[in-house]
Amino acid sequence: MNSSFLRFSSITKKIWMAFLGLFLMIFLVVHLGINLCLLRNDDGAWFSAAAHFMGTNYIVKVFEIGLFAGFILHVLFGIILQVQNWMARPVRYMVTNKTYTPFLSKYMIYTGGIVLVFLIIHFMNFYFIKLGWVANPNLAPDGEPKFYVIARELFRSPAYSILYILMFIVLGFHLNQAFQAAWQTLGVNHPRYNSFIGRFGTFYAIIVPLGFIIIPVYFLLIR
């Protein structure tokens, strides 16, 4: 770990958290767009085409590096901030705090952690296969993984699908708090825009996870 991260001021770290978080939220929409291709009844033609494009296009590859760096930093800063926060109160209260705070806003590190655990599973199922780190039988003759088949098989497993759905509900809570918090951290807080930011965040936090959730539901119940 680079020690200069630790020497960043608390606000600098938070501004990076917010900036990277918003960046990841944009990526999530792109990812959703590709995933929704699974819903087409075309035996995965669109989905595979999209996956192929994402896997081979050079501009996407450049973005991919940025995405991963951003993701790792978001996690890293999150952990550093949290450790510092725990250290800031060495003796804890006997009575748990009863101050009113927005729902689950106190638990961002936990919702974030759950998402991270899922993501590792997710990577093992998809991304690491692409990289060749994890072996998988579902490879095309040219060696390219058949993601459509992998996805279809996973979503047909009720255990995986339920895990997947729960994870996105958790992510929804994470995003709901995160969106307005990111703008607050970036200094955007104005009576004229606050309610829009809040509502947009909630809208995003419902619609995007819902979009992801539709897919396993579709595979489980309809196909």
């Binding site: 001021s9 608390s10 606000i11 600098t12 770290k13 938070k14 501004i15 901030l81 510092q84 926060n85 250290m87 800031a88 109160r89 060495p90 003796v91 804890r92 209260y93 006997m94 009575v95 748990t96 705090n97 009863k98 101050t99 009113y100 705070t101 927005p102 806003s105 106190k106 961002m108 708090q177 307005q180 918090a181 703008w183 607050q184 951290t185 970036l186 200094g187 955007v188 807080n189 104005h190 009576p191």
Partner: protein
């Protein structure tokens, strides 16, 4: 009213502390919370025991000295008041009331419920002022301040420095306190000259003293007896970002 009090007792900064239970009776609902503690202390003195030490002074909600964490909330169950203006009618007969000192690494306990908040002074010393010497001021009305900005500056300046924001925050973050002072000067023309240095220095000191980081739970705003808004934190972040990138 009849109550059971569980109070943190700690002999001095080095000793270990513990909770001690005190039953108390015949408390009028019109009594203030600190007056209730006065009554307890009278009883303790009568029994040759050490009275409970707690910080207090003006008892009208403005000096910011009182600092009690009562049943899980800084300044207790009422909104927008300090502990000295909290009245016993906010409790029910037979209640158990647990009283703890502010807890934060930069606020070490001195004795019982009294903590050391000189960390706040240290932050202000870094730049919570306009550097103007006595006698060097221009005619007051040469500086015009829009009413809207004056009002917002006053909202921020109303901070009494009690530390409830730190006590309430799950991270023991001092962002609301620091941002209130930064905001006051960011909103006024007098504060512009030193704006960049001010925010950088004060935030640096805040970090060095070991306060936690803000995670936007807004518990600070919810517990602030003077209703200081979290928009001040956003303004400080903005000031900080501008100071760093320009």
């Amino acid at each position: 009213m009849k109550l059971t009090l569980r109070i943190w007792r700690q002999k001095d900064a080095k000793s270990a502390g513990r909770f001690v239970t005190y039953p108390i009776d015949n408390i009028s609902p019109n009594c203030s919370f600190l007056e209730m503690l006065d009554i307890l202390n009278e009883e303790l003195i009568g029994k040759n025991e050490d009275p409970v030490v707690f910080d207090h002074d003006c008892r009208e909600g403005i000096c910011g000295m009182c600092s009690l964490y009562i049943n899980g909330r800084p300044h207790g169950p009422d909104d927008a008041v300090t502990a000295c203006q909290l009245h016993m009618r906010k409790f029910r007969d037979g209640d158990t009331i647990i009283i703890e000192p502010w807890r934060a690494r930069p606020f070490p306990v001195i004795k019982d419920l009294m903590v050391d908040r000189s960390a706040f002074d240290k932050i202000i010393q870094e730049g919570g002022y306009v550097s103007v010497n006595t006698g060097g001021a221009a005619e007051a009305n040469n500086i015009l301040v829009g009413k809207e900005f004056a009002e917002l500056a006053m909202d921020a300046a109303a901070c009494i420095g009690c530390g409830a924001c730190v006590a309430a925050c799950k991270n023991a973050s001092a962002m609301l306190f620091v941002s209130a002072k930064i905001s006051q000067f960011a909103l006024l023309p007098q504060g512009q000259v030193e704006a960049k240095q001010r925010v950088k220095k004060m935030v640096k000191m805040m970090d060095e003293l070991g306060f936690g980081n803000c995670t936007n739970t807004y518990a600070c705003e919810a517990e602030c007896p003077k209703l200081i808004s979290r928009s001040n934190i956003a303004r400080m972040n903005r000031e900080f970002l501008c100071a760093k990138v320009s």
